[in-house]
Structure formats: C-alpha cells, structure tokens
Symmetry: D2
Subunit: 437 residues, 4 copies
C-alpha cells in the first residue's frame, strides 16, 4: 500500500492524500489553503489552476496526476474549504466520480458555479453508514462523526491490504444537536476487525483534555441572549456561515422572542443549501444577501432594532463583512451604546485575523456596544479525544495529518504514549512524500 | 463612612475589610493567606497570632483593633480559608458575634477546635435572604449568590449613610446544582434602591467572558466517567474537599454503577459537616480518614478495584495527600496501567502547586494511568459576570478587592468602561488604607 | 501643588501633564496617540484639533485650557510623537514658549510645517545640563538621560513647593554611542537635595531586570552584517527613522565595505535634521525620499546590489513603507533568494503591527530572503532601571505615568516594594484627574 | 552507514548516539537525564546501572551492547552530565577507550570516583584541532566550538562512507572569553569537502535569532556589580559551577574591589579541575566546600560582609544549595535588607526548578535583598545559529537530536526551509531507532 501525502502535512489547509493499492488509487479530500492567498488581492475563483498551485493555495498533485488513469474516486469528507476547495481546480483532470455526503455535494456544486467552470466528474451522494464499491478492489464506507459543519464523515477504505480510516476534522460530540452522535459502535467494531492505517487530525492536538459538546455552547448562548434581551438594545450575533447546527441553536434559543434576520452572502448560501435538505428551517427568517436586499432589510430593522435579532457575517472581523460594515457606518443600520454583539466563534489564530478582529472590536467599543466573545467550541478533537479514537480503532499504523511538522510531531508523541514507535508504525511525513506500508 | 482595607488588597488571600459608620464598625471576613506559610514547615494551627501576622499569613488588624469597642459584628461570607481562616486567631479579641450561614459556621467551629483555642464570640447563624440588626444603626442582609462552596453569600450592610454590598467570591451560576441560583431579583432591587459602595471580586477579572455553569461540569464529568468505565480499570477522582456541589455531581454521575469511597481527612470533615445540614448524603459512601481506617478501606478496594470509584484528596498534588501517596506506593491500593485519574479541579496558579502537580502527574504517567484534567470551572466571576453585577447593583462607588494591585487595576479598568472615574467614585487601595466616602 | 494628569495615564501615547504652583502652570509634553487613528484613513495632519481630540488622538486639555493665562511654558522632553505630536494642534492656544532640546525643536518645526499651520509660540532651545527661569517662581532644568532618540532629557521643575522630576521615556544606558550617559551625578544630587514628586515611565515596568546598552546592539549588528556580507547578496536594514544613534552604528559597522543608501521620507527628514546639528554625517550616503529620486537610486542599486547596504523605512511592516513595497515588487529594486533583511527594531505590540509584520515577513520568505529580527533594545527603563532611578532620586511622592491603569499599578507595586504607600505618597491616576500634594 | 539513536531523541538529556560503518562502531556521548531522577530520593551514584536504566535516567544501550565487540571508541563532546553522566554506568562494559578533551576527562574521572567504581576504559585526551585514528577505518577529529563549559568540541568521524559531524551543545560565540572562537575556517572547509551526515542541537531551536556573546554577559555583570557595590551591602552571585568562563568574568569584573569566596561542593570541584589545567586562577580566592570549612569562611565574611563578593551554589534554588541555606538562616552568614543577590543563570525550564527558585526568591524578598536575575545567555545555538551551521557544513543528510519529538520537528522545519526533504535527507527519529543512510 502506498500513501501519497500530497497536502496538509506542512500546514493547516489544502488537505489531500491518496491511497494506492493494487494499481488502484483513491484520493481523499482536495482542499485549499486560505492563508496562502489571504495577503494578495487575488480572488481564488479568478485564478487559473496553475497560478493557484504556484501561490501554494492548492495541493501539488503532479505526482499523482501522472497516474491519473489509476484514480478511481475522489472522496471528500466534509464541506470546509480546506477539504473541498481544490475540487473545482483539480478534480476535472481525473476521470472519476467525486463522492461525498449530500450537504458536501451542495457546497461542491456551488463552488464549481462560482469558479465559472464545468466539472465533468460525476458528483455522487452517499450517506454516513453506507458503503459503496468504487473499483474492482476498493470499497468506501462513510462512518458518522461530528464536526462544525453538517454531514461530516470518517472515510474508511476497504482494500485487499486492509482498511484505511481517514478522519480529518472531527470531534467526538456525545450530545450533538444536529445529526447523530459519532458512530462509536462501528468505530469499536472497526477496531476489532483491524485497521491497517489511521490518518488522524492534528489540528488541536496541543489542547489538553476532551472537547465539550455543542449542547454546552447552546446553554451559554441562551444565558448570553437572555442577558442581552434583559438589558435591551440591538442584538447582533455572528458565527461561521456553514455552522448550521449553531445557527439552529441561535434560532432555538431566541425562541420566538425577536424576529430573526440572516444577513450576508455566505450566510444565505450555506443556509439555503441546508434548507434544501431539511437541515434548517428558514421559513420565519428574513435572509438578505444582495446589496439592495440588505439595505432594505436593515432600514426595516433600524426602525425598531429591539424587535430583531441580527445574525450576520463577520465573525473574524473581515473588512468587507456585514458586521464590520455596520460597525463602521456603511449601512442604514447602526450599532450604538446599549447594543450587544455576540461572537459565537473563536478567532482563527493568524495575525491577520487577530488584527481584523482587533479593529472590529475597537470600533464596537467606541460605539458603546457590549461584546460577548468566544461563545464557541472547536470542531476539532482535542488531545484526549484523539486518544479515545486511537483506543477505539487500534490501528496497526498511524499517520498524523492536518498540521505543520511540529503539530504532526505532537500527535506522534500522543501515539508514542499509546505504544506506537516512530518510523516503525507511526510516521511523520511532509507534503510530497510517498509512504509504503 | 470609613472603609478599612485591612487585607486582600495586595494579594489573593487573607481578606478582611471593615466598615465604620457613626462610630459603629462591622468587620467583613477574616481570612488567611495560604501562600504566606506554604514554604515553611509551620503548621498554622501551631503558630501564635503574632507569629501568624508576622509571617504575613493573617491580616494586620492593628488599626481596627485599637477601636475594638466599636466593632459590633464580624460577618463572614463563606467558608474558604482566605475568608474564614483568620477567625480563630483574630476574632477572640473583639467582643462581638461572628455571623455566617450555617455551613460556614460549621467550618469555623472545626477551625477553632483544630486551633485548640477557646473562642468566646457567639457564632450566629443566618440564612441567605435574611436580615438582622447588629447594632443601633446597622443591619446585615445576606443575599444568595453562588460559589464553589455551599451557602456562600453576598453581604449587604444597611447603614444610615447608605448600603454597602460586599461580594467577595461569587460567580453567577444560572443553573446551580446545590442551593438556589443568585438572587437576581434582590440584586436588581438593590440597584434600584441605591447602593453607596460595592466591594467586588477581582480574582478572575482578567478572564474574558462569562462563567459557565456547574451543570456543564457535571456533563463533562459524566462523559469522562463513562469513558473510564468503558475502558475499565480503577477510577480515581480528586476535587476540592469543600466543593460539596461537585461531590454530589460525582455521586449522581456514578449513578450506582460503582461503590464510592471518600478518602482523606479534609474530605471527611467537609462532607460530614455538609451531611449534618443535609447538603450531601453519605449513607452509601465509605468514608475514611484516619490511618487504619484508610488502610483497611484500601485493602478492601484493592481486592476488586473495578468495583470502586475512589474519591480522594490531592487535587493540587499535595505531597502528603492521599492521591500522591497512593501514586508513590505508600498504601495497599495501587495505581497501575489501565487505571484512570480524574482531576475535577484546576491548578491554583502558584509555582509550588505547579511543581507538586507536575510531580504527581509524572508518577501517574509512569504507572500508566490515563489522566483527565481540568474538569472544573472557577468559583469566581469572570470579567463579563463582574460587568453584569455592576449593571445590576449600579453602585455609587466601587472598591475592587481580592487581588494584588494589578488585579485591582484591571477591575478598575472594567469599572472605567462602565463610566466610573478613578479616585472619584472608584478606588484602588492597598492593605492598611482608610478610605472615606 | 496641583498635578493635572491630562494624557498618558490610560494608554501608552498622548502624554501630557501639567504642574500648578502658586497660580503658575507648566505643561510637560503634548503627545498624540498613534493607535487612536491607526484604523482610520485619517491623516492626522489633515484633521482639525477638535476632530483629533474627539478621535482620542490628542489629550483633552479642556480643564487646563480654562486656565491658559496661568500657563508659563510648555516643556517637551524629546521628539517622539507621543510626546511632541500634539504641539501643532494644542500649543497655539497657550501664550507661552515651547522649550526643548535642539533636536526636539527641529522635529517640532517640521511637524508644524506638515500641519500647514502657523504656531506663534516661541520655540526655545535649551541643552541638557542647563537651567532656565520660566516664570516668577518656576525654573526648568534639563538633566541628561538616554533614550532611543537624540537629546532626550529628564525635566526638573524647581518650584517654591519643591522639585518635580519628570522622566517619561528614558533608559539608563551606561555606554551610549551618541551623547553622554545619564547624568548620574546630578540625579544623585537631586536625591540629596530632595525631590517632592517624581513622574516615572511605566512603559516597560513589567520587564524584569535592567536594560542593556546600545553598544550591545552594535556588536550584534556587526555580527549580523558580517554574516550577511559573508553569504553575499543584497542587504537591507530597517530601523526607526529617528533613532540616529542606531543609524550611526549601522554606518560604523559597515565600515566602508558597501555604499550606503537611506531610502524613505521619514528617514530623510529625521537624519537631515540630525545632520544640521552634527548628530550624523550623511556626506557619504545617498539619501532618497521623493518618488523619482527613489526610483533612480534603486535602479542604480539594482545594477549591482552586492555593492550596497540599503537602509529603508518599514520596520513595522507598514503597508506603504519602502521595504514593504520593495518586497511586493513595486520598485525597480527586487528582493530575491540569497538576499538579507535585517530588522533592527522590535514589533511595537499591537495586533495591527503584528499583522503588518507577518505579511511582510511572509512575502520576504517567499522571495527567499534570509531575515534577522529584533536586533534592538527598548528605549525604556526596565523594572530594575526604574528601581535604580527611585533609589537615586528618593522622591517624597511618586506618580507613575505612560501606561494604562494596570501598567501604572505594576509601577506602583515596585514603589510599594521600595517602601511607598498607595494613596499616601504613591498615586494611580487616570486621564483628567487633578492630584494635590 | 547505520545510526543508532539511543538517547536524547525524546528528551533533553541522556544523549547517546552510535555510528556503525563496516562493522566498526563509535559511540558519541553517554549522558544521563537529571529530570528522570529529580523526583525521587535516589542519589544516582548509589543506583545500579540497571536501576538507573529502569528509572529512565540513562540510555537503553541494549541493542548496541549486543554488538559491543564492534565498538571501537566512546567519544564525549563535553563535560555536562547529559553528555557524560552515563559513562560511569555504561562505559565499563565496552572494551574501548573513552576519548575527550582534557577538561571533560577530569569530569569523567571525578564522576567515576564518586560512583565508587573502577572503570577499566582508557581515558584518552585529545585537543580540539586534533585528529586520531580509533580503528582500522575510522578517524576522529575535534573541531573547536563554544559552549557554556570549557573545551567543548564538535566531533567529526571520518569514515569510508563519508564524514559524520556531531555537534550537540554548541553556540557560535564570535567573541568568547575563554578558549578560541568556533573554528569557522575548518567548518567551512568541511562543507567544501562534503559532510554525509550532521547531527544537530535542537535544544533552543524555537528561539528566534542568533545568540549573543559571553562578552555581552560580562558587560551586564559589570554594570550589575557596579550598581550593587555603589549601593553597598553584601553581594552574592550564583551561577553554574562548571561555567568557568563566567566565573572568570565575575573575577575580572570585581577587579580586586572585594575579596572573593567560592562556596559549595560542585563549585570547588569544577573550579579546582579547571585550575589544574590553567583555565582559572584561584590563588586569590577562598574556596570552601566541607561543612566546617564553609562555617569558618562564612563567620569570617559575616564580620565584614561589605568586603566580600560571595560566589556560591544555588542558581536553580536547589533546596540544599549554599544560597538557599544562607537565605533560610542555616549558616552564620545572613542575607539582610540592603544585600544583593545576582543570578548569573536562567531557570532551567521545569516546574520543579521554577518552584525551587520561586521559594528562594520569596525568602530573599522577605529578607529585603535586592535581586538581579537572568544575567546570562544560553549555551545553545538559537534558530539562526543553527541555520548558519547548516550553511557552513552543507551536509548531505541531517538528523536533529537533543530534544523531544516536537523540538526535533522544529529543527526539521528549519532544515526544510533550507531545502531538505523529510524522510529523504532529513530524519526525525526516536530513542531506539536504527537509521540507515
């Protein structure tokens, strides 16, 4: 078995791994790295594939591309850009289907549209709990896990040389509010059956302990919203647009007390995709995205701000987001003394995000708004969650991914604690390696 | 009105404040500072009052002592040592009652016993929600708040010059598991009636956001215990011995699955005091404190460790605690590969505690135990909780306490954000100041 | 004696303090706060005084302005913007001279020119070591200290009620490379004579130890430049434009090995002002500021980059600085694989600077340049330097300045260690307080 | 060529690597790990080799031991315990010489004595700059580098398969005060000749920039001592006992102003060894180690403390060190208000050291001593020094050592920046690996 560690082994971003067994290859994820383009004026949709690769934004798939005839499937675990963002650029040159859960498929479809390209690959839907043959020898299985976007999945490859479990981006939420909890039964079963290789998520490996539940965030949201409603004034919430579970919590917690507005392009797109497959109910929500729509809705809200709960984009303080532009006075809706701004998100740790949030918070403070921050939990497994996973799957070999070399090394330390030996059944790779086991 | 800032204005520890109005004085808290004696072999019970003061362990009450005839009452807010620990040393020289809630009274009684002294002061019980006249002009009111020990209270002094609210050590737990939630109604009412001075808790002022609920910790405890029980092996939990609410959560979460043992002197004492006033039910729990008792119970447990949940002292890694001594092999009960140790506490941030915990965790790791840490929330209000409190009470003047000068300054910054002016209606004092307002 | 704490008591920036004795007032510093305008597109030169005050960029001098007839002198300690930047906006409405050392005067003159205003105040030059009567009762003395700009001074006011020493922004460099070392003799003498009040610099109070010498930086610069010259390629250095001492070190350390170019507006202005009073010799240096000038010089350099040492603006990664624009390809001079970039500065800790530097460093890394960072020491006294100062001056009273409330509190803790008592002879004030001693 | 990564690849401590070429093996370093025994009462000298290995204190040499007939030499780079401490336990079972520089040899001899064992291995002295054949095919070369102990060396193995350069523990001090500066010429030459493998020092890889010079520390020491002498009172200095260069600086900087005492067992031993080979001149220094000697000297000093500069052990706050015991009043010499304590060392980052130093500093503060800390630079190469080294040696392959997995990974990131590829010509190993290149 050969493992091509194409992307995500030197950074958090642009994940891409390929597994080759008996001359058949399956590609796992095709992400892009937002950091790589953040400093430039380039809109990634406008860049050619070559330029995007050159900028370091998408994985260098050259080596695997030379064997493109062997590639039988591209399987995408969930809809975040660092897992799916490379599909519009790269998938077209492989003559094979792109397999994902329904919500992920909707995101792929939208990205292809925005990229103004045709993509000839068949987009195949598959639900967690299902299996599907993708070639003579390889079968794909989706095992339900939880993450901060709907319908994320662990991918299991059944091959003649054993099973490969790939679980980039997961957390173990024992009480999720949307979808089922992780399929512990199947994971334990896999551990009994034998897993030849596990590819694990290093993103939060350095955080001690085990992750909390989305239910906890909902409780915190409830107390925060109660506090804000008690004090009165305008109330603004911002979170990740693809975090449908969180948006549902906001709606629930509001409990009809105020009218709800969703404002911002990505918010509209992710939630409308979600509504199409019954993940969220937007029937009592006013959603605005285009300029006039936004202006009209804001004018309406500003006539009686205390009647509204405004959910909008801008949780990272992005300069052109709705929240930032409200704060700086670009819109008919104002933020003033006595208003409340709730950040149901954490700052993604990069100096640029920190500066953007700093500037936003500074303006909000000057305007006199009360701010509530970090009402959020990460979508990634913490150190003890990763240990739990290893103890369930009992893999023969471990390959940490989704981090830079030091984060992979930190994951390796955990595995060493659990009895694995570096360079024997535990591997630290970089982008472009080919590992044989 | 004169405020004597006797202790707790240059450290976290030895809290003591006195209020003088019309020649009548009420003393609020008489704590001692564990840090001050931690380095020495001194047992505080063996030290004279003078030595204790000299070592900096208890407040220098000289100035107020000179006016001891004016002192009408000593009021203690809750039973933690930094609030009550000075009583056996200092209270005796004031001819007045010591007023507290019942659980705090039990702790005072035990401390006096351990100090091998007589204390002539009457120990007066008063419940939250009650008021009591303590002198011609001053009335005391207890307003229910939540903390990490039972029956903690905000103290309100009703004086001819206005009300003083004193709330050292509180958090705003909207869903407590023992006792009532904070008396929001009364606090808001006090805000309407007018509060001349508020003395607030700076301990966690530097932590952003609002505190979570004990209920959240219980959920985390449940998941952790489930995980440990699923993996099998011995399970040990350690937490603060006076945190009866937490101990109840542990009992609840165990839900009869294993027999429970409580081992350690302080654990026995705090819980038995609690049981006497129906705060905890020990009827199905084996409690051991003295050496033989402990050895016998441990021998019994070691015969079938998987049948037991062992709750013991040692959450800070204290060298002579039960957990540390089990870990280092001092007892018939061992910790081995496959066992679990749950720290339902955080490390109190001092280099000595950090080193003790480091040593304990190192031994536990060598023995092969799986460790779960920080399953805990602080008993103190975070920054936004403190803001909530200020918005409820709307005090005319603010005096931050329970911290060193920089922590008081950080609280002052919060108050400045809320419109207060330093040296006008907001004051940073040091131990030994007399503030007139 | 009344002390008006007008600015710099809640932030690092916009320093301004006034001392009133017997109906005569002297103003010390008039700074502005770069942070306050950094987020906005406003150029401070274009803003009215009122707007600048409103934006929080310059001190609110309303209270002292009402007594403007009593103001006898404005004394400025050195030429950094947080001490002198408010002069063009505020000084004009006081009918009194502005007194400073010669280099500071040149900076004031340039700022007034850029502000396109007339300033009627007489600009009086005074050297360190000199004294001057400014009113019937008050005499000003300049005592030499060291800082990261030439001709910085401690200001001493001799008043009928005692001496006030004001030393915002100083470090104790025992081996400075430009100007004399701090006037220890005079400071000790002042301590003997008696100082009624000392106003001290809290900026770096939280850094343990004592500051190092500029001579140390020069040694480090030498080793770095040697390393870069040995490896070959283009060499770029960036530092603070007003840090003439550092620029001299760079010239010295180059020791004629390469031709030197100074590129950037502020670099030209600060160094030319310095040359006029013999602080730096630019005769062998090519200085460019205006666009064509810059382009021409760069074209020349790019013909043989290895012959040149390029000193340019951009040490904070400022988006429009010369270094950033070279890095992003805006100029005929390029940075490539094998080139060296030396940051003889530290990042001024603000999220915006951090993001700017991050972006710059990212581009430089992509281009393949080797980067050398933090070849610098702070211009501010560290904790032990501040203690040294207190032990020399032995002031009766201490007023920490140049920081937010927590930094002032940290300075207060140092003073408390040295035997001072808060609210007795040690004071924590906020902007707008009037302190009587 | 086979490389056995025996110790130091999962921790800072117990360094041991072996190189096998053509059936001949050379062992590089045999250290022990102080952390592993620090928590226990074990004195390492009293423990058997087996117990020491079991405790994790010395490397597991089993695999190489099975080939002990092939081992031709044990080469030790310098005298710190993490490089030489395992020699008394492990070297005896290899029938080959132990090769080192003279000062290292003296330390080995003392350790063997203390271990109360015979060691039959020949102890061979070799100076830096020299080469020596150790077997048919392998020649050893010592290349001068700088470190915080005298006569540290880079070890180069000349083998039929190419050169191996091993440089654990070095810094690049361009202006050392004892011994020569690093042999840049030879290192560059080695780079030209070709180095097959470089084993590099990861200890400080995470610190940006390049290290400063010991000369800088001497300047700082001078200013500190001047300050202390000016203030008067007793003056105590503590540093690492084996840091002869630093001790010389202290003597120089004192410049005859006060009489000097060296007090403490390790201080006596390391300096007397140094004096025997002319590294330090103790003729004007009073050295005391045994109890009576110490008491007598202290009594003498205490009669006129201001005449003396006391250098003593205890820089990490060790509970039984001389400084700690003076501070706690165990000796006739006291530390009082007005005295000075200079820590010419940094705290080795472990919670136990931090707690020890915390306790020591707390006592010193209570006694009223002024403390000066961190007058020190690390003995290890920082990130840019490591880059310089790679650019000089241009090795074909790189193996980071002297750190845990994450530190090795951080070194690997540096190497990747310099063009190396992980798992191709750059390797992250763990203890017990065998790498073939």
């Amino acid at each position: 078995m050969k493992i091509y560690t194409i992307g995500g082994y030197e950074e958090v971003g642009k994940n891409m791994t390929a597994i080759e067994v008996n001359d058949e290859i399956v590609i796992l994820d095709m992400g892009y790295d937002m950091e790589a383009v953040i400093e430039e004026d380039n809109e990634i949709e406008e860049m050619t594939t070559k330029d995007t690769i050159k900028a370091g934004a998408i994985p260098k798939d050259k080596e695997i591309h030379q064997k493109s005839d062997k590639v039988k499937a591209i399987v995408v675990g969930h809809g975040h850009l660092d897992h799916v963002g490379g599909v519009p650029k790269l998938a077209g040159s492989y003559d094979c289907p792109v397999i994902s859960t329904p919500y992920t498929k909707k995101i792929i479809q939208r990205m292809v549209r925005e990229d103004r390209k045709d993509l000839n690959n068949e987009l195949v839907e598959m639900n967690t709990g299902e299996r599907r043959k993708v070639s003579e020898n390889i079968e794909i299985e989706f095992v339900n896990i939880t993450h901060s976007i709907p319908q994320a999945t662990m991918i299991v490859l059944h091959t003649p040389e054993g099973k490969v479990a790939y679980s980039l981006d997961y957390r173990l939420d024992k009480e999720p509010l949307l979808g089922d909890k992780p399929d512990y039964e199947r994971m334990n079963e896999l551990g009994e059956e034998g897993v030849k290789l596990f590819i694990g998520d290093s993103t939060r490996i350095d955080e001690e302990g085990a992750g909390s539940s989305e239910k906890t965030v909902k409780t915190e949201l409830k107390h925060t919203l109660n506090q804000a409603y008690n004090e009165g004034g305008g109330v603004f919430v911002t979170t990740f647009s693809s975090h449908i579970e969180r948006l549902n919590s906001i709606i629930d917690v509001n409990n009809g007390r105020r009218k709800i507005a969703f404002i911002g392009r990505s918010l509209k797109e992710y939630t409308e995709s979600g509504e199409e497959i019954d993940l969220i109910d937007l029937s009592n929500i006013e959603v605005a995205s285009y300029h006039n729509e936004v202006e009209d809705l804001m004018s309406k809200i500003s006539r009686n701000k205390e009647d509204w709960l405004v959910v909008c984009t801008g949780n990272q303080g992005e300069p052109r987001s709705v929240l930032k532009r409200i704060a700086t006075g670009d819109y008919p809706l104002e933020i003033k003394e006595g208003d409340h701004v709730i950040f149901s998100s954490s700052v993604i740790p990069s100096p640029v995000n920190r500066a953007n949030r700093y500037k936003l918070e500074k303006v909000l403070k000057e305007k006199g708004a009360r701010q509530y921050k970090d009402i959020h939990i990460s979508g990634h497994a913490l150190r003890e969650d990763n240990r739990d996973m290893l103890r369930m799957l009992k893999p023969d070999n471990i390959l940490p991914a989704h981090g830079d070399t030091e984060m992979l090394a930190s994951y390796a330390k955990l595995a060493m604690e659990e009895g694995y030996d570096l360079n024997d059944n535990l591997f630290i790779c970089q982008n472009g390696n080919v590992l044989e086991i």
